[in-house]
């Protein structure tokens, strides 16, 4: 969104380099602003598109239970029959191994039919994700979506994946780049590969971009996701800017993405460093409820999320050797980072409350 850059108090805040309290105060200010000024501008509000609608109509049935055919009692009998038939066809393909995965292990059928429908209730009902600026994602060809990372558990990546698939008119699939820890853990690595995620390294990213895929990356990594609650919505260092040179080499646009709401799902008030080291994890979160309440404490808070895709930054105007220019790389990294940070502040101003 172009107007993300022109909100005046955003500017003093980013200059002032304010502490952890700034986003909070901005939110209060925003709230009062809003009350005075009426409705927040519903910029780039996404409408469910005709191509996507039928898929989304299905999900109340599909996600209740993994078996699409089993219980559709309230449907018309024709629909039920069809559903059972397609469910059985799906079951048959799965049982006989008659489906395809790509080189990265991405199982499109399983993702669309099962895994996405498991995530969708979280996306629609629990976090009530609102998506803005989906038109900034190209309908075809490669693009690199760069987002902020937060929330102790990488829920934001998964929600971004559902957002792109469900809201985009072309129903595009987002291929996320994940930390190596994901591929070390049993079960997690299997699911991640089947969801189309791959290791965050330049080789995999450029291979996917060259195939014309939509690649999602969260360059803050563990610094972003494992930061204390007091640092919320303060972007951490963007890795070493490798994502910029990868995009430059593949000549694909960079789409900045700001996710609001994920920071509050697990407010991390402490970090049990010794325990983390023992378990081989980068951090061990202590939240007001976890681990004190056991598994119950691991339930995320039902915050209201907003995901905004910003205007794409083209990279095809640069000469091929630009990927080797560290100065340009740092500048572009900063540009992307600034744009995400500004949009974050803007969205925080517009937000009525954390939960609604």
């Amino acid at each position: 969104m172009a107007d993300a850059k022109v909100i005046p108090f955003d500017d003093d805040r980013s200059r002032g380099g304010g502490g952890g309290s700034t986003p909070r105060s901005s939110r209060r200010r925003g709230a009062s602003n809003r009350r005075a000024g009426g409705e927040p501008p519903a910029v780039g509000e996404v409408q469910p598109l005709p191509g996507v609608a039928p898929v989304r109509d299905d999900d109340p049935v599909t996600h209740e239970d993994e078996r699409p055919g089993k219980q559709a009692g309230d449907d018309a009998s024709g629909g039920l029959e069809q559903r059972i038939a397609s469910g059985l066809a799906f079951l048959r393909r799965r049982l006989t191994g008659d489906y395809e995965v790509d080189d990265f292990g991405y199982d499109e059928e399983l993702t669309d039919q099962v895994l996405m429908s498991l995530l969708r209730p979280l996306y629609e009902k629990y976090f009530r994700v609102e998506v803005k600026g989906i038109e900034n994602i190209p309908a075809e060809g490669g693009a690199l979506i760069v987002a902020n990372h937060s929330g102790t558990v990488p829920m934001d990546g998964l929600m971004m994946q559902v957002a792109v698939h469900d809201e985009h008119p072309a129903g595009r699939h987002l291929r996320l780049l994940a930390a190596d820890l994901v591929f070390v853990l049993p079960v997690v690595n299997e699911l991640a590969r089947k969801l189309g995620h791959t290791l965050a390294c330049a080789e995999d990213a450029s291979r996917l971009l060259e195939q014309g895929e939509l690649v999602g990356v969260m360059p803050e990594g563990f610094k972003g996701i494992g930061k204390p609650f007091s640092d919320r919505y303060k972007l951490q260092r963007f890795g070493r800017g490798g994502f910029v040179s990868t995009a430059l080499r593949a000549r694909t646009p960079i789409v900045p993405c700001s996710i609001v709401g994920a920071e509050e799902i697990y407010p991390m008030i402490g970090n049990a460093k010794t325990l983390a080291r023992l378990l081989g994890l980068p951090y061990f979160p202590l939240t007001p409820t976890f681990p004190w309440l056991g598994p119950l404490g691991a339930v995320p808070l039902p915050t209201k999320w907003t995901i905004q895709f910003g205007e794409p930054i083209p990279t095809d105007g640069y000469p091929p050797e630009a990927a080797e220019d560290p100065m340009l790389m740092f500048n572009l990294t900063d540009q992307v980072r600034e744009q995400i940070q500004h949009t974050l502040y803007k969205l925080l101003v517009q937000r009525r409350s954390v939960f609604f």
Partner: protein, 349 residues
């Protein structure tokens, strides 16, 4: 032409095939043990490549092309792992030493394996020929191949006039293949590692013979057959897919249990499963084959899935044949609709 490792199925097939090519006048087939299969009209010389006699054999044959196929992961007959390693590494050193002294040798083809990349969660999803492995294989056949390739690179440096072609084959499968993975897939029940579903890539033995032929002849116009190439069929199969297509149920085990079960089975002599095989079946491995297509000019006839289908046909049905499962699902689909419910899916992935 001199071919090593002919006592194995693959070597024997290659020797029989290559003699039909008009460019080939004479084939000298070498192995430490006499082959059980016939070698066409090739001259068999029983020589151990670990011994310096190989130099005399090479000098007497006056071969201009050496095809080194005696780099393998499974011992022939009752050989031990130590003897196998010696054949792989010391044998290669002796053979390369012999090649270095021979003025006639113009071309060297070495059978290697994609095992050189190892298999680790921190590796990129797809290996190219230039990807440095994050964790070098710690032992077994994988380490042998790394060492063999090291000696071959040294030889290529010392004899720049010899065209050296290193072919890194993915898992070789086919009706007669005797690779460790083939024996794994012949188990009635496949032990797998719980929580991991590795990506596997196969290459058909017919394609292996074809690509060895390309490597051992003059390069065709517009192609180059010296260098290092990954050889694999298109596409990827997950281990879960393989087991379902094969109709053999899997038993997911925790990683320590897999290692333990492996030790037991090795003691019983049922399989000879090395730790790097377990790593492969944990993390999987996929290689890029762009070099093979663009530079070597070779397009495999079989994709990974077709290779596997051919392998399945040669093995016969398992405990849970996919046809039976499909028929069961069809029967449920044919049931009258009211009150119909099909059994819950065991696993969705």
């Amino acid at each position: 032409m001199l071919v090593t490792g002919v006592a194995r199925q693959l070597g024997g097939r290659f020797v029989r095939r290559i003699q039909r090519d008009p460019e080939v006048d004479r084939v000298v087939a070498v192995d430490a043990v006499p082959p059980e299969h016939h070698l066409g009209g090739a001259d068999f010389v029983q020589a151990d490549i670990r011994q310096p006699t190989i130099a005399r054999v090479l000098a007497e044959s006056g071969a201009d092309t050496v095809v080194h196929l005696d780099v393998t992961g499974t011992p022939l007959g009752s050989g031990s792992r130590a003897a196998l390693k010696e054949t792989n590494v010391i044998g290669t050193m002796q053979l390369l030493g012999a090649c270095q002294k021979s003025p006639h040798v113009k071309r060297l083809v070495v059978k290697s394996s994609t095992n050189v990349y190892g298999s680790a969660p921190r590796d990129p999803a797809v290996f190219t020929e230039t990807t440095p492995p994050k964790s070098l294989p710690s032992g077994g056949f994988a380490k042998d191949t790394v060492e063999v390739e090291g000696y071959v690179r040294g030889f290529a440096r010392r004899r720049p006039d010899v065209a050296v072609c290193v072919l890194r084959f993915a898992n070789i499968l086919g009706p007669t293949a005797d690779s460790p993975l083939a024996s794994y897939f012949s188990l009635p029940v496949l032990p797998t590692v719980l929580g991991y579903d590795p990506r596997l890539q196969f290459v058909h033995e017919d394609d292996v013979i074809e690509v060895l032929r390309i490597g051992s002849h003059e390069p065709r116009r517009g192609t180059l057959n010296s260098g290092t190439f990954n050889i694999a069929g298109d596409g990827v199969l997950l281990l879960s897919q393989c087991s379902r297509r094969l109709g053999r149920p899997t038993v997911p085990l925790l990683l320590p249990a897999v290692t333990w079960a492996n030790t037991v089975m090795r003691t019983l002599g049922m399989t000879d499963f090395s730790p790097e095989q377990i790593r492969l079946l944990t993390h999987g491995r996929v290689v890029a084959t762009d070099q093979m297509r663009d530079v070597l000019g070779f397009t495999p006839k079989y994709t990974t899935a077709e290779t596997f289908a051919d392998f399945v046909r040669s093995r016969g049905p398992g405990l849970l044949p996919p046809e039976a499962l499909a028929a069961a699902v069809d029967r449920i689909a044919a049931l009258p609709l009211p009150g119909s419910s099909h059994p819950p899916k065991q696993s969705a992935n």
